[in-house]
Amino acid sequence: MSDALSATPATRIALRRQGLLPRILGAVLLSFIIAALLIALTGHNPLTAFAAMLGGVFGSPYQIGEALNRTSPYLLAGSGVALCFRAGVINIGADGQIAMGGIGAAGVVLLWPGQPGLLSAVAAIIGAALCGAAWAGIATAIHLGRRVHEVLVTLLLNFVALLLVQLALAGPLGQPGAGFLQSRPLPRADWLWRAPHVFFHGGIILGVIAALALSVLLWKTPFGFAIRVTGQSRRAAAYAGFSAAGITWGVMLTAGGLAGIAGGTEVLGLHHRLIEGFSTGFGFKAVTVALLGALEPAAVIPAALFVGLLESGALSMQRQIGVPSALVVVIEGITMLLILAATVRRA
């Protein structure tokens, strides 16, 4: 995603000179060494554990598909978060926006039944996007209208969205007598398309398209230019005639819509119903992959893949040889910390 107008070529050259790629690889290697030590401490053979991890990701087409499905929401939400951060808008509300997207998708399918498959799927995705965008829109309205810091607004709205999911499940969308809060199952005809043999659902494809589109937006359009200027200096942006409010609306609605789609694809493609708490923690993963991708939407693709594959592998390591699940989280954290430390730009 090069563009001679931006700071990127120079930054990129500088990074190449500093050897960014070797540093990332070094960080990954180091984190695996630390992980091996931790695994050994729990009394397991690290080699067996890593073998289980690899097998968990690439062992079978089904497992590859599962890893890609894990990647999908991170990519969709993360590329939107990257766009917001570029504009200097710290949106940590992907959690809530994903949750609302889930409600939107499930709502369309369950409350408007009997539509032909394609129409229903498209309507459900659109519903998800609109719900996510609306949630981000509420945050934006409060942030701009009442001058509350965006971190606070987006964070607090996450909790509200969680409660709204519960409310929906206790009410119109719920499955009475299921024992947990979950919706009625979605009819098979309305499930999201899945790739034959590999079984990943359409979310990852939407995610790749979205990330590439955002990258084009950021580097090839005047609006993207305005976003980049705003993120670097609010004063310069005002002087350039860019409306900070307009840009905030633009990036927030876009990111909210994408997070909503992420929630919709989870419901339509993975769970096939709305489940309480299905979105919890995704918002912070979205921030992580956005930062790992250096806030470059196209680079969020490999970043999200990395996190998705790592998680998928770690989980199967846990399942197969019983490495405690807490350790999986620790390993994940160390890896991300090291990579961020290795890629952080020197001031």
Binding site: R235, A236, A240
Partner: protein, 495 residues
Amino acid sequence: MAALLEMRGIVKCFGAVRANDGIDLDAQAGEIVGLLGENGSGKSTLMKLLFGMMPPDAGGIVFRGRELSDHNPRMAAEAGIAMIHQHFTLVEAMTVAENIMLGWQDAGWRLKRREIADRIRETSRRLGLELDPSARVGDLSLGRRQRIEILKAVLRDAELLILDEPTSNLAPPEVAELLAILRHLRAEGKGIIFITHKLPEVLDVCDRVVVLRAGRVAGFAPVAGADRATLARMMVGRDVPAPQNLSGSGTGATRLSVSGLGGAGIGPMDLTLSGGEILGLAGVDGNGQLELAETLAGLRAATGGSVMLDGRDITHASVSARMTAGLAYIPADRSSTALVRGMTIAANLMLRDSARPPYARRGWLTKRATQTRAAALMQGFDIRAPSPAVPAGRLSGGNQQKIVIARELDRNPGLLIAHQPTWGLDPGATHFVMERMLALRAAGAAVLYISSELEEVLAISDRVAVLAGGAIAGIMPRGGVDMAQLGLWMSGRAA
């Protein structure tokens, strides 16, 4: 007597740019060395190498008889070198004394407020700094803040002080006071390296000058016996004539008409500007210059009155509507308003025109047309950098300023508001900018030229107004300028 500082054969390259190309520089104790040179000639780079902010590619530094190599700013400070930065490193919410104690080993672990305050008061009196240890830094003028930095250096036993364009954002009286302080320091045996583009200051205070050109020493001379023209010729390599202001007609139709304009810190004020006229706005900085400029440019809201540009009411128009109406604006604040330092020269040249041709067509940013235009502007305005893709923050101060000027003049504005437009420019570039403003006037534009440098204002304006206490104290035609009256206006209601 051995030299306080000897720099020998200093070389520093940035890619293909040889910023320093074998420079020798000496400084003695008790001497003020003026370091002169065109924009981009390598002055700041040389000082950054000396202060250990980056390593030289070749060459050696000997300070007080000891080799200084592989050093960082901390080590340079310990060795006795102090650098007074343009952007001060002070904590605004803290007092003068607290700022001086920050990171100072001699202050000890326990806060000895009383002792420190006494030392500050004593040193401050000795050097004529007039600093109150208990004043809050945020309440002090830029000139006062600069003195805190100087005091900090002196209290930490610096033997050599580096000042890189210390006078560029000071009001004239503060400049005079700074020069007096430098003389005090010289009398106490400190060595001083003083970078400036203002030749009167050099003649006033320096003992000798070293002139750089394109990374090499182009000449050196004692100041005694030199005059402005000689120094200018050494710097630029040719004669620099004073701008020829063949007085403008100023008879065009009224372009800008401001009536009863009020806002935070200004007004109510009335002002009219005709096409083909330059109105110089003199006055001590901080008397509403920034407020007026930003209100006219649309960056601050007007609370009353009206602003008409070419018959259109733009009192409450947005920044971009004003640009469309023909208003261009060169802000005084280069580092965070006028430029985005992290973005390229090309991006900065298109900063305010990014949605218009040639920078954008049919909703898409253009690549080749942008490069072409950027390269043309760099050539036309002598912006010295290897390519338009270099981040603006990497350019020398004066070359950054040229980006802003090129961008605003390239739009062929009907009204130009220029606030300290020659800040950091060398005499040659200043001359060039003046010429461009005169050309703009000849093309029928109106120019509001805001500067605290009376000399510049008088050289270029058709009429001179004075801003004091946020209001126009008076206006007079250039032909009949009465210096005494101007002085009265300036001091009259000045804060």
